[in-house]
Amino acid sequence: MNHLIKGARVLGGDPVDLLVKDGRIAAVGAKLSATGAEVLDAGGLVALPGLVDLHTHLREPGREDAETVETGSRAAALGGFTAVHAMANTDPVADTAGVVEQVWRLGQEAGLVDVVPVGAVTVGLAGERLAELGAMAESAATVRVFSDDGHCVADPALMRRALEYVKAFDGVVAQHAEEPRLTVGAQMHEGDRSAKLGLTGWPAAAEEAIIARDVLLAQHVGARLHICHVSTAGSVEILRWAKARGVDVTAEVTPHHLLLTDACAEGYDPVFKVNPPLRTDADVQALRAGLADGTIDAVATDHAPHAVEDKECEWAQARPGMLGLEQALAIVQDTMVETGLLDWAGVADRMSVRPATIGRLTGHGRPLIPGEPANLVLLDPAARAVVDPAALASRSRNSPYAGRELPGRVVATFLRGVPTVLDGKAQR
């Protein structure tokens, strides 16, 4: 089936028609016509390259009660994504070629987005010895991003070796920056609010110290480094300094860190418990500024589904993490576009082009021009809707945005010319 998309504003520009044929963009121009093509009226809609998430927890294998590759893929497609990186902290851990190939195959079977497995850096995420990174790189899953996410690769010697080793196959280590000795029992951002609430603090310095160490290591060994979910103003400063020195470092920020603050912890509702924790308003402003000026390269969701019993309990016992795939674009529109910090071209850069480059995905994050793969999303920036967790495609309900009115609506998503979402509904 070929598709003729009429009157879409590519990257927010003037309306044009796009002809999608055989999985690729065949033509872009005014008043295109094509016999036999399905016509999609995209008047008023913005077209962006399909979004790429560097940081998704799909929970399969191991916690299929919280999410599966299929339900997570559906949530991703509905959020406008055409590729998601599936984090390695599954059960079993994705630390072998066998597990990453299993996840990759499940993604292919679901067929809603390209599921790109992330490989664990260390065996069992234990931080003791390297997993077989080369085997994962050479597997059918062609892993390029390696991360112990959920845990920091805290041992500096091991981190150095990991950074060096993955150079052989153009890999990158994505660090969950958290000095574990500074965050024992930590429950929320350490500051005025943790003091008042009597919850053990997670100091900003525990993140910043690891980022500072790792940018120095990356420079020393000439390796590429990616920092997961940057959450503090200090981290943005260190990254800015490192980039100015020529360190090959990239970084991501989550939608929730662009919007929410530690004030959300006041009611002790664990839906707002996340790692790294929600920070202060000053941090939120610094993260937005860092994303706007490119110090932070990408928005990544850290979509973290959790079963009800892991969230409907005491704060200290609750698991950290929140849903993100289906609202990510809306949060970015709310915090970055409507504030004038990014235009739609900037959104495409931070949510598609740069994350695809970091993950070395050749078919994603491409310009919407003839000859390119037809991975794209159409959104209605004028729409507004209140988030209802029960209406989400994710198997879990732990959305921190419940009841919040957010702008924008994903109308359609195309994966290599095949609509995975049409009229806001998943097509499979």
């Binding site: 429950q187 005025d192 943790s194 009597g198 919850l199 100091p203 002790y268 005491e314 200290a316």
Partner: protein, 306 residues
């Protein structure tokens, strides 16, 4: 009064004063009576839901409820369905289905009473949650200060010890501030939370500088295990720098009192001769605890006093 007592900030100045005045009325009404019982809460059910061992606090609440003629259910996490993994929410809904009018909760997790209050229709009283708050302890401390010194406005209170991990300190800072007292917190810098600067209290690292000006010295329990996490080098050094002994007690003003929420580590934060001196209110605090908790239950469940 709000429906729940979850933290000291739930009480404004008139509410807090009402609790203290009601406790005084109750105490007066029961003084000299053979049967220490009022019929006020007959037919009402109070559940003591205790996830932490604290016999003294549980007994204090139990006595308070029984003296108001309420039915009391003690629900301890040990030996019940709770220890078999039942969630706090399921337990709360079960207790409510059994007809509880108020739940008194003690829990090791900060915020558990707040969550409980969002799940049940009855009143919730926080009897200590993690390192967050213990509001009835602060009320009984305020009651004790007022009984001894005759006022709270302008009273200078030194709170000394492990402020970082102390729910008693958090509740006292808030409540004493509400009632017009001036609080100075004293501890080694490691035992203050980052963010203590936002509290309505002075902060000092020097006990000897604070003592001469204090009307009240409130010593907090310090667990010797804290030194294993390097909060201080040794119990001996802690007690030398921050313990209240007879030498330090001697610099206090004539009417100054010494308080401790218990249980005490004699020889650690407080010397035995200080704990047993005439300045010490430690035994009164226990007795006042029952009156104050009666007042709280009465006001939450029974309405304003006639």
């Amino acid at each position: 009064m709000k429906k729940h007592l979850l933290e000291a900030a739930d009480l404004d100045r008139s509410d807090a004063t009402l609790v203290l005045d009601t406790a005084a009325q109750i105490e007066a009404a029961l003084t000299g009576r053979e049967v220490k019982k009022l019929p006020t809460l007959r037919g009402r059910t109070v559940v003591n839901l205790f996830y932490e061992d604290s016999t003294r606090t549980r007994i204090s609440f139990e006595l308070a409820a029984k003296r108001l003629s309420a039915d009391v259910i003690n629900f301890s996490a040990k030996g019940s369905s709770v220890s078999k993994g039942e969630s706090l929410k399921d337990t709360a809904l079960t207790l409510e289905a059994m007809g509880s009018d108020a739940i008194v909760i003690r829990h090791g997790a900060s915020g558990a009473p707040h969550q409980l209050a969002s799940w049940v229709r009855g009143s919730v009283v926080n009897a200590g949650d993690g390192t967050h708050e213990h509001p009835t302890q602060a009320l009984l401390d305020a009651y004790t200060i007022r009984a001894r010194l005759g006022r709270l406005e302008g009273v200078r209170v030194a709170v000394v010890g492990d402020v970082l991990h102390s729910r008693v300190a958090r509740s006292n800072v808030r409540l004493l501030h509400t009632l017009g007292a001036e609080v100075t917190l004293v501890a080694p810098p490691t035992l203050f939370p980052v963010g203590v600067g936002s509290w309505p209290a002075e902060v000092s690292y020097d006990l000897d500088a604070v003592l001469p000006k204090a009307d009240v010295v409130m010593m907090l329990r310090v667990q010797a295990e804290r030194m294993t996490a390097s909060f201080f080098p040794s119990a001996r050094e802690y007690s030398r720098r921050y313990g209240l002994d007879a030498r330090r007690m001697a610099v206090l003003g004539d009417d100054a009192i010494v308080m401790h929420p218990g249980p005490m580590n004699r020889g650690m934060e407080i010397a035995a001769d200080v704990a047993d001196s005439v300045r010490s209110t430690i035994v009164e605090q226990v007795a006042n605890g029952v009156s104050v908790r009666m007042a709280v239950l009465y006001l939450l469940l029974g309405g304003a006093p006639s």
